[in-house]
Each structure stands twice: as structure tokens, then as C-alpha cells.
């Protein structure tokens, strides 16, 4: 953090902190709405396709979202928890991303000769894959570790056969505390690499659309 503070010398640190805090709230809100809507849509599709027999796999989410079932009333309870968890996760992720962005923001501000009007002519967002990859990787890795730990704590680790299938993609992962730590580290790496790729593609398309690349 000391490096960031040094790098952001010359820009209004108080304004930067307030802006990051504001964006963290927005990102939390967007993540929450997105997760809740995704759960509602998936549940409704499942209900429409299989009726009373719906929820073979989706219903497993009830382990983490108390009260959630693949029923119309259960959907609302699940959406509520999905909103809470995703909002908190989203806010923390953006806050960490914002903290890591410090140096890049300073560079951007240093280069910005004629600053655009942030209200009437907002600039186009650039993504910093290293920062977003680290923030999201930590959040998703932690989510895997805590959800695995929850399965261990409630005593259902042995019967969690579906969670154990993650070992197909995360070698060494098991439904245990140690397995959860191994899986979290591997998932962090996977998410980090994916985010670096996502940011690279996004920034490239933005460059093409802005005519910066022929």
C-alpha cells in the first residue's frame, strides 16, 4: 500500500478514496442484482422444463443459501441471499481492485492532458487485468475455501460427491480443509489468468473501436 501511496503523489488521494468507495458500492449493487437475477432465471427455466422434478442439481445451492429450494417461493429466498452474498463479495472485490489500481490511476492522470468531462463526456473504462485478476481471484478462491469449509463444518463432507467433482479441474481438491486450500490456490490462478485474458481482449476491442489500432 505504501508503494501505491507514493505512486499516487500529486493526485487528490481523498478524492481517489471517495471514488473507489463509491464504485465499490456500485459494483456490489450490480453484482448483487446480477446474481439474484441469474438465480431467478435459472430456477424458472428449471421449473419450466422439469416441473415437480426440477432442482436435482440447482437445489444443492440450498446448502449455502438458507431456505432456497427450486420452487417459486424458494426462488425469492435464494435471490435474497444471492443478492447479499454477491453484493458483499462484489464490494470487497472492487475495493481491493481499486486499492491495487492506485499506480495506474496516477499514470492515467499524469498522461491526461485534456481531461474529459466525467459527466457529459465520460471516458471509456480500461481494465487492468493484473489488478482485477488478483482481486477476483482472491474473492473466488476465498469463496471456494469457505464453502468447502462449510461442508466440512456441517458434517456433510463425505456425502458431498458433487463438490468433489471439482477435482477434475482442480487437481488435489477434496472436500476437506486442506483440499479447500489447494483448490482455492488453483482457482485463484485460473481466475487470475482468465481475468488477464478478459482485460486484454476488452482493451483491444476498445482500441479498435476508438481507431487506435488499424
Amino acid at each position: 500500500m505504501a508503494t501505491n501511496k507514493q505512486a499516487t503523489t500529486g493526485i487528490n488521494q481523498q478524492l481517489l478514496d471517495a471514488a473507489i468507495k463509491f464504485n465499490a458500492k456500485i459494483f456490489g449493487l450490480v453484482s448483487g442484482i446480477f446474481a439474484a437475477l441469474a438465480l431467478i432465471v435459472m430456477t424458472q427455466i428449471s421449473l419450466a422444463m422439469w416441473g415437480e422434478h426440477a432442482g436435482g442439481y440447482l437445489g444443492l445451492l440450498g446448502v449455502f443459501l438458507p431456505g432456497y429450494t427450486v420452487t417459486p417461493s424458494g426462488t425469492l429466498i435464494g435471490a435474497f441471499w444471492a443478492f447479499i452474498f454477491a453484493s458483499l463479495g462484489g464490494s470487497l472485490t472492487y475495493w481491493f481492485y481499486g486499492r491495487m489500481l492506485g499506480k495506474n490511476i496516477a499514470n492515467y492522470v499524469e498522461k491526461a492532458g485534456n481531461a474529459a468531462d466525467p459527466i457529459l463526456k465520460p471516458a471509456t473504462l480500461r481494465l487492468y487485468g493484473m489488478a482485477s485478476g488478483t482481486a477476483l481471484g482472491l474473492a473466488i478462491g476465498a469463496a471456494l475455501f469457505f464453502s468447502t469449509s462449510w461442508l466440512v463444518i456441517r458434517g456433510t463432507a463425505e456425502s458431498s460427491v458433487h463438490a468433489a467433482l471439482l477435482s477434475n479441474y482442480l487437481p488435489g481438491y477434496t472436500v476437506s480443509i486442506t483440499g479447500g486450500m489447494i483448490g482455492a490456490a488453483e482457482l485463484f490462478l485460473l481466475v487470475f489468468v482468465s481475468n488477464v485474458m478478459l482485460a486484454a481482449i476488452y482493451n483491444k476491442v476498445v482500441d479498435i473501436r476508438q481507431g487506435k489500432v488499424s
Binding site: 487528490n12 478524492l15 463509491f22 442439481y57 492515467y108 492522470v109 481531461a115 471516458a123 473504462l125 476491442v205
Partner: protein, 117 residues
């Protein structure tokens, strides 16, 4: 405008920048496509006895994704389906992001105007 104000404005521009909806849709589309393709291929490359069912759980996705199955041909269908789903998710993510910013900024402007009156 002095240098300090310009820097503040540039900082606000950087932090409140709008997301490029098309770029985000393409980027998430590509990532979802590669993700589903890789998830399928990882299962196909595993050493299992002949006739042993592979990817029973991932195969359930064929109920949602036309043409998809845990086979080599299905993995290509997974690429296309993954792209479409990823692009839709990215599109709405960017749209939500921009919309919430516009609403928040508009409410701030209104508050400022009310306070100034």
C-alpha cells in the same frame, strides 16, 4: 482551470469511465466459449475404461445448450453456446454498470443543485 482541478477531473474521468458494452460482450463471450470448451476437453482427455460414461454431470448442460454434449463435436457446440451466453452476460454486466453510474451521478447532480438553491 488550474493543474490541480484538471487532475481532479482526469481522476474522476478515470474512475467514473463508462464500460464499452460491445467490448465487454465480446471479451466475456470469448472467455465463456473457451471456458466451456476447456471444461469439456479436460474430461474427454481423461483416461477412463472403454464404455465408462464421461462427464455425466456436465452433460446435463445439453438440456439448456442446443447441440452440446461431452464429446468432441459437442465441445464445438459448447464454444458457440458459451460465446452467446458469455456475450449476453457481458452485455448486461456493462449495461448495469453504466446505468447505475448514470443514476448515481444524476442523483448527485440533483442533490448538488438542490443544495446550491
Amino acid at each position: 482551470m488550474n493543474e490541480s482541478s484538471l487532475k481532479d477531473q482526469a481522476l474522476l474521468s478515470a474512475v467514473f469511465a463508462k464500460m464499452d458494452v460491445l467490448a465487454m460482450a465480446i471479451a466475456t463471450g470469448v472467455l465463456f466459449a473457451l471456458g466451456l470448451f476447456a471444461a469439456t476437453v479436460v474430461l474427454l482427455l481423461q483416461d477412463v475404461p472403454a464404455g465408462y460414461p464421461v462427464g455425466q454431470h456436465l452433460n446435463e448442460l445439453q438440456s439448456y445448450l442446443p447441440g452440446y454434449s461431452v464429446t468432441w463435436a459437442g465441445s464445438i457446440a459448447g464454444l458457440l453456446n458459451g460465446f452467446v451466453i458469455g456475450a449476453i452476460a457481458g452485455f448486461f454486466l456493462a449495461l448495469f454498470w453504466n446505468l447505475t453510474h448514470y443514476i448515481a451521478l444524476a442523483s448527485m447532480l440533483i442533490k448538488t443543485a438542490i443544495l446550491a438553491d
